[in-house]
């Protein structure tokens, strides 16, 4: 090995070590603090206690808020997948003038009208529609934002599906709903799974919309509840915060592993999965 080569080797491993440290160090707290008695914000060798999890189950809002998050995510996912599947099928099979233009315009709007830029009118709209402090309000707002990209992805999957499958079903007298349900949807399952996971992860992690639209603590999902754990002295309750953070993160990591194992990564017009 020449000296230049050796130096390059060393440089490479130093770089890898620094990057690994930079990305790993901030995450240490998430794996040590939940298992430490009375944790602080410092990272220390854990006592391997499960007491914090016990405290968490005693908290009136902690576990119910995870359930709230699951309800919000699942409803948003169901409505998004259903509405997107119908729309994508129609747009993929029926010739509408300017169809692709409309689709691109919707995709453009959904990336331009973000929750942060539109939080004031969304709050106003929900107030006028009497949907403040209701699950339905958050579900509908999230669905509206997710739909354009979902339609876009699904249409992509449906376009690449051979038409002959549907034609043979039609020959046997199937109507559009039957064709969609028995022929098209089973064939685009990877697309449906991608959208479903993507929708769930998005809603599960979203803080701003529920923070904006809920008033009652009992209704709030995990993202908002995480910032509501205080000790009797008014300090953040780090035992609950760290333990809850861990529980709340695990589903996201599992879904992510599932998708990357099963379908690999694909870039769909730059959508953050």
């Amino acid at each position: 090995m020449s000296p230049v080569e050796l130096l390059r080797r060393i440089g490479f491993y130093v770089f890898v070590a620094v990057v690994t440290a930079f990305f790993a160090l901030p995450m240490l707290w998430l794996v040590t603090a939940p298992f430490t008695r009375n944790p602080s914000l410092s990272v220390s060798w854990p006592d391997f206690t499960l007491g914090n999890f016990k405290h968490l189950t005693d908290d009136p809002n902690a576990l119910p808020s995870l359930y709230n998050s699951a309800v919000l995510s699942l409803w948003t996912m169901l409505i998004t997948v259903a509405a997107a599947a119908l729309a994508a099928y129609a747009l993929s099979r029926v010739r509408v003038p300017g169809r692709d233009g409309i689709l691109y315009l919707l995709l453009l709007l959904s990336s331009v009208i973000t929750g942060t830029a539109a939080m004031v009118p969304i709050f106003q709209l929900m107030f006028k529609l009497h949907l403040l402090d209701k699950d339905l309000g958050v579900i509908l707002v999230m669905t509206g934002g997710l739909l354009p990209a979902a339609i876009f992805i699904l249409k992509d999957f449906m376009d690449s599906m051979p038409k002959s499958y549907e034609e043979s079903a039609r020959v046997f007298g199937a109507n559009s709903f039957q064709v969609l349900g028995h022929v098209v949807l089973p064939n685009v399952r990877p697309g449906l799974a991608t959208i479903a996971v993507w929708a769930v992860v998005n809603v599960w992690g979203n803080f701003l919309m529920p923070f904006l639209l809920y008033r009652t603590p009992e209704k709030q999902p995990a993202a908002v509840t995480l910032n509501n754990f205080y000790t009797e002295g008014g300090q953040p309750n780090l035992a609950l915060i760290s333990t809850f953070s861990l529980l709340y993160s695990i589903p996201v990591v599992i879904m992510f592993l599932f998708v990357s194992r099963r379908y690999g990564f694909r870039f769909h017009g730059g959508i953050k999965a």
């Binding site: 709007l109 009208i113 942060t116 709050f123 709209l125 992860v201 953070s245």
Partner: protein, 303 residues
């Protein structure tokens, strides 16, 4: 991107059944999605236009009977020091953490990991991706803990106990935080782009005696220029709209870390000035629109 290829065979197969019945049914299939998008996505944006022209407030007389005050919110916003400071901070945040930080670190990671051993590659990629997929509320706490003045991990490593990073360098800390948070996307996009560079071109460059720096400059960068632009625009758009800074600093100390999304929130809800906040929102929407239009132009040119 794969869109264009999907369209051609479909047309030539000619499976589309002509006739009004199918068209009508197709329309019925599209209606639910269209209604949801119109009411909950497009309507709020249009409403911003109207609200920004009023003196709407959360409580008081202006709450019941908002008056149209014309463009005064806009002229007021553009002349307002707090707003201009927030905009300046946001541009710094986008430039430092996305355009420079995530872009460069993402590219360097994709480039160096290409030839790394499998376990090294898996380890680094997993960590980078993990930083990206964890929920925003959780990473906010992780970084509050990491940069904590008393007992924070960074101070322990640097032997600088008591240094309050979030208080003394709020914007610098936010920029480093966001590089950590968002580099995964750039890394993956560049990894995909690099695998599409024809190996024969690299090979002939190497045979012509080009070192790896020259290969980068003369072969790799020119052939992934489109990807670099795409990546830059997307991460800028996301960083520009990121609300996570609120979760870490709430805009403290004294608004020194209030980027535009945080400033809008603080003005609209705790500040109760909805009309004024709407005017700022519209300015933000326009900036988003410009970024998105630039992105679409690049996609068009590449197609």
């Amino acid at each position: 991107m794969a869109e264009e290829t999907g369209l051609l065979p479909q047309r030539s197969l000619g499976g589309e059944v002509p006739g009004g019945g199918d068209r009508r049914q197709g329309l019925a299939f599209v209606v639910p999605a269209l209604v949801l998008i119109t009411v909950f996505l497009i309507l709020p944006a249009l409403w911003t236009l109207y609200l920004g022209l009023t003196d709407y407030r959360l409580t008081g007389v202006q709450a019941a009977h908002p008056k149209v005050v014309g463009t005064s919110n806009y002229t007021h916003a553009l002349g307002d020091k707090e707003f201009r400071d927030a905009l300046g901070r946001t541009l710094l945040f986008v430039l430092g953490s996305a355009i420079i930080g995530q872009n460069i670190l993402g590219f360097v990671l994709a480039w160096t990991l290409r030839s790394a051993r499998r376990w090294v590659r898996t380890l680094v990629e997993t960590l980078v991706l993990l930083a990206w997929i964890l929920p925003g509320v959780v990473v906010a706490w992780l970084w509050i803990a990491f940069l904590k003045d008393q007992g924070g991990t960074l101070n322990t490593i640097l032997h600088t106990p008591g240094h309050d990073w979030w208080f003394d360098h709020p914007m610098g800390s936010l920029i480093v935080f966001n590089v950590w948070r968002g580099t995964a996307f750039s890394m993956m996009l560049f990894a995909a782009a690099l695998s599409s560079v024809p190996p024969s071109q690299l090979e002939s460059a190497r045979l012509a005696g080009a070192g790896s720096r020259q290969q980068l400059r003369d072969v790799v960068i020119p052939s992934i220029r489109g990807h670099i632009l795409t990546n830059t625009l997307l991460i800028s758009l996301w960083t520009f709209n990121d609300f996570t800074p609120y979760l870490i600093t709430k805009g403290e100390p004294h608004g020194a870390s209030a980027v535009l999304p945080v400033y809008i929130y603080l003005t609209a809800l705790p500040g109760e000035r909805l009309g004024f906040a709407s005017a700022i929102s519209l300015i933000m929407l326009v900036i988003n629109l410009l970024l998105a239009l630039a992105y679409i132009r690049i996609l068009r040119r590449r197609a």
